[in-house]
């Protein structure tokens, strides 16, 4: 699949942002609430908090001789933090309005702008994308995504080239796991 950098201009052009290495100070990380109620009911939970030092550690384990790793290292050069909370469910779930409101209050602070608000009643999907801007440069990104069986919040601190991120799509695949014991039977194949 070819990725075109033009694809991501839809996101950046409205506010005249340039996705380049940030000269602006990074935005503060969002204070993400606990989603304990969601986690308790989720079949899968992803809870990632990588601050500057952990990003540095991760970068040290990217193999510069591997083109995908090298591209990833370049991609995260401007990042100061990346935080993900994602919950997957077998069926529907109760939208965590109270916690989302806590996040939206922070996104109403000066500097943050909502770039995109999509709401598909057909797909029961809602995605809001916010960007933090300082002196004309993006220094933070926040995504709140609600799908029929998944709820996700992403907060990126620092700058990231979305076109470069998209060019790596398909390369991330499934992360290598040192598989912990499974607590549940897998279903037999049909």
């Amino acid at each position: 699949m070819k990725a075109s950098s033009a694809k991501w201009r839809w996101l950046l052009v409205p506010v005249g942002l340039v996705a380049s290495a940030a000269l602006a100070a990074p935005a503060a990380p969002l204070n993400l609430p606990d989603f304990d109620a969601l986690a308790a009911k989720a079949t899968e939970s992803v809870n990632i908090s990588l601050d500057t030092s952990l990003l540095g550690l991760a970068a040290g384990f990217l193999d510069p001789s591997n083109p995908d790793d090298a591209a990833t290292k370049e991609l995260i050069a401007g990042l100061k933090g990346i935080y993900v909370r994602s919950y997957t469910f077998d069926g529907g779930f109760a939208y965590p309005s109270a916690q989302v409101d806590q996040v939206r209050k922070q996104l109403a602070a000066p500097g943050w702008q909502r770039l995109v608000q999509t709401n598909s009643t057909r797909d029961r999907t809602r995605v809001d994308i916010y960007v933090s801007v300082d002196r004309g440069l993006a220094n933070g990104l926040a995504i709140i995504a609600s799908e029929p069986r998944q709820f996700t919040i992403v907060n990126i601190v620092g700058s990231i080239d979305l076109a470069k991120l998209h060019r790596l799509e398909g390369k991330f695949g499934v992360p290598k796991l040192d598989l912990p014991p499974e607590g549940r039977d897998g279903k037999p194949g049909k």
Partner: protein
């Protein structure tokens, strides 16, 4: 599967958990085709596939206590095989199989159209690793999209998207082959 068969399978796992090597070897023989086939179609190299398949069973031996049932064992093996294969593909240069490797990857059953099936396998190798894994789990392992999502720890919509795009790509390229031959 009959009740007696399920009982026998359960006994085998119980015996293997109790340390009986012969029972573990029987489990390997029971599941080796599935594991090796997944590895072969992902890596397109017999030696790499054999090596990966062996590693999967070694990992199983070391972590057998994590497996709670025969059904869970199938799920565990598919998950580990695919994760290792995808990781290996990400780290190693693209493995270019020779014609003999493609021949080896064709199923053992008498193919109705061997040329077409070889072409399909060649086109499958052109898919990105994650998409290839989804296609294999769907059409080789006969899992439904929800089970694939669980196995690969991938959102359901991503699984469906991979299936849709992969089938479209395969069809388009097959049609291109047909046009070129006419």
């Amino acid at each position: 599967m009959s009740g007696d068969e399920e009982c026998a399978r359960g006994d085998l796992l119980t015996q293997a958990l109790a340390g009986e090597r012969a029972a573990f070897a029987a489990l390997v023989r029971r599941h080796q085709r599935s594991v090796y086939s997944m590895a072969l179609r992902m890596l397109s190299d017999r030696h790499a596939a054999e090596d990966l398949a062996q590693e999967v069973f070694l990992q199983l031996f070391r972590n057998l206590s994590a497996v709670s049932s025969e059904a869970h064992l199938g799920f565990w093996l598919r998950k580990v095989t695919m994760h290792r294969a995808i990781d290996r593909l990400r780290r190693a240069p693209r493995l270019e199989g020779a014609a003999e490797e493609l021949a080896a990857a064709v199923s053992e059953a008498e193919p109705a159209d061997p040329l077409l099936e070889r072409r399909l396998l060649a086109l499958l190798r052109e898919l990105p690793a994650a998409a290839r894994a989804v296609v294999l789990l769907r059409y080789q392992e006969d899992l439904d999209p929800v089970e694939i999502a669980r196995t690969l720890r991938m959102p359901l919509n991503t699984v469906k998207s991979h299936l849709r795009r992969s089938l479209a790509q395969l069809r388009e390229r097959l049609d291109g082959t047909a046009d070129a031959l006419t």
